[in-house]
Symmetry: C2
Subunit: 411 residues, 2 copies
């Protein structure tokens, strides 16, 4: 008799964005004339850049000729792309990494989930709260969370990030083994400066813990003292695995390319306390359960990192960041407290008048036809907060802010 | 202290194709003038077809314009592709499936590995032997195999497929819960007819077992009584999950698109014996840990299933199958027993003169500069066999056969 993985029974409710989608659909059905502006899901709207498009056309043509056709590529990714990433994203920032430490994949969502496979199920997991739900759900599915009780999973350590601590996570009091950090943060849009991040690297080194560092929004960093990669912090290459993606930096959400960096010095331990490098473990996982990213997509990613490509994507990021400023100013003008939006495309607002996140969601949708993301969907400490994103068009952003200023009934 | 997944300690040796690669490189270094023909790894050589290329160019252009740009798509795949697959691959063959039962992914290697996540770790696994190593290794990594002893994993049931039973697997004597079947078979190239496959479906229904059916080579089926999909067998939609891919049918090994079909009627059981449909479990896994296949690649896959696309890929398959016949006849002419190659691009030969698989590998490489795949790499029952593939060019295939006929020293 085939048995199911009963850890799935511990999963709570629907996936956040599915529930948002349902409520928006219901609203649209009831108000067919409403022009709903979606500032909820973190999806980009600007198209792929000319450098990327040109490179993909060339690659498509290569795939149509026997002489230049590519079949299976290296599971870890083509050297041309691994080298380009090592250079542009690390070496130029003073973080020396070897291209062999970079694994190309089709998405950071996959990577941050799949990475758990190389770890034992008995690790103590810590997450910041609020948090990207995938970190939690993948731990539930793999049996690391324990049961759900009073809004928390018993075996997960939650580290609150709220107005009270200016969204800076404090080191955990109990010992933890694997720590998820995402900076610039999704959903709060807040960042850690170098000395703040260094505390976590030091904690991990002292406790032989691993930091899973999600740098998906790195391209949005504007301020000087904010690290683009955790490897700007000395010693991080002994304790941190970093995830990054072309989704938010180069409009690849529908094109799919990402990468995971596992320095060869990063160790985890067997039950007898023996140190083992994680790089060969992940290499084994990656080559056994993955067959590489589409050649055409890897050429597209390479083009996004060319000088021309970087200039073009830089312009898109400027565009979104101007949106972020417009939204933040608009919120402040009606007396709503707003955070983030400086080194990140996300604006995290405190719901006015003590509303819950979902109450504010419904209010925003009903009053001004704007769909955002309820903070409570990201964890207990997200209750009373709400996320807006800067990924809309300029026109929609202006319209949304105009509606908030003139039609949102806050009394 | 972060702990590793110690199940990885149970993994045996190198991944097969890595070892082959190493030996070929060593040979090339020692014989720089040798023209090595690779008939080993199952990679295609014919390029993408004109219909696919045209469709990709169009999709690339769409991605370059804000008005037609696509960000995140449905994790399960775009309806246009799911509908096309349901129609072409199932409905037309009399196997009624709903498009919602189809999940688009970037590869069957990923899917056949990841599917284990929705099952408990206490299931008893059965594989045919020889077998695609990924089935075994992913069970080892996830802790289902038990330790390795005398060439076998203790908790895996091996079902030998050899000359003695004409490569037709017999039902296991002990009860098993999850059964991997791959037909047309990799590596043997042999098939099951409908009544042979029906025995397995009946076994699964009687024992509440699940069949993981890998149909990656389905497009090569030529003979009438050989099923293209397991859902041609009555009742299979209650017990079987099917995997298929565009890799071998449409030259997508470097383009990456596949699909998994989980009928809504397929059930597995909780520890209390309660039946649970697997479709929502996989849907949850897929939406939480995967973000969909590149839009451009999905358009390419759709084009491969258009009338024009099918005609063009049909010609490629004819090309490879003519190669298969040339290889098989060549082997027979020098007295080597050869199997498969009729409904499959793989030819499975019995090594002559009692050579081991790796001895024959080295002999073939040294005598005639041909790289094949040692049967022992696919499991104990593959020892004394050897795999050649029909994926080379016609010219290389003729040259290879010519060398085998005239230069291979069998005495």
């Amino acid at each position: 008799m085939a048995r199911i993985n009963e850890n799935y029974f511990n999963l709570q409710g629907n996936y956040l964005f599915a529930e948002i989608g349902k409520r928006v659909e219901r609203f649209k059905a009831a108000h067919p004339d409403a022009d709903v502006i979606k500032l909820g899901i973190g999806d980009v709207t600007r198209p792929l850049t000319p450098a990327v498009i040109a490179s993909m056309h060339t690659a498509v043509d290569e795939m149509g000729e026997a002489s230049s056709f590519r079949g299976y590529g290296p599971e870890q990714g083509y050297p041309f792309l691994r080298e380009k990433i090592a250079d542009v994203k690390y070496t130029r920032r003073g973080a020396a990494v070897d291209k062999d430490e970079i694994f190309i994949s089709d998405g950071s969502k996959c990577d941050t989930g799949n990475i758990l496979e190389i770890f034992g199920t008995d690790n103590k997991i810590a997450i910041t709260d609020p948090v990207y739900p995938v970190y939690v759900d993948t731990n539930v599915m793999s049996g690391r969370s324990g049961p759900y009780k009073d809004g928390k999973y018993e075996n997960i350590t939650y580290i609150p990030c709220t107005i009270e601590n200016n969204f800076v996570p404090e080191l955990p009091k109990d010992k933890v083994d694997i720590i998820y950090l995402c900076y610039p943060n999704n959903p709060t849009g807040m960042v850690l400066n170098k000395s703040q991040l260094k505390k976590w690297v030091d904690y991990a080194r002292e406790n032989k813990a691993i930091i899973l560092f999600d740098a998906a929004y790195e391209a949005y960093v504007r301020e000087d003292d904010i690290p683009h990669t955790i490897y700007e912090i000395p010693g991080a290459d002994e304790v941190a695995i970093e995830f990054n993606s072309f989704s938010k930096s180069a409009a690849f959400t529908g094109t799919r390319c990402a990468y995971t960096l596992i320095p060869k010095k990063v160790m985890a331990y067997s039950s007898s306390g023996e140190a083992h490098p994680l790089h060969p473990l992940w290499n084994r996982r990656h080559t056994t359960k993955f067959n590489g990213v589409s050649y055409i997509v890897q050429r597209a990613a390479e083009a996004a990192l060319s000088e021309e490509g970087l200039k073009q994507t830089g312009e898109i990021i400027d565009y979104y960041m101007a949106n972020a400023e417009i939204i933040k100013e608009g919120l402040k003008s009606v007396g709503i407290q707003a955070f983030g939006g400086v080194n990140s495309p996300y604006i995290w607002l405190k719901t006015p008048n003590g509303m819950t996140s979902w109450q504010f969601f419904d209010k925003l949708l009903n009053d001004v036809s704007i769909a955002g993301t309820p903070g409570a969907g990201f964890g207990r400490s997200g209750e009373g907060y709400f996320r807006l994103t800067a990924f809309g068009s300029r026109e929609n952003t202006y319209t949304a802010v105009d509606r908030i200023k003139n039609k949102l009934k806050l009394k």
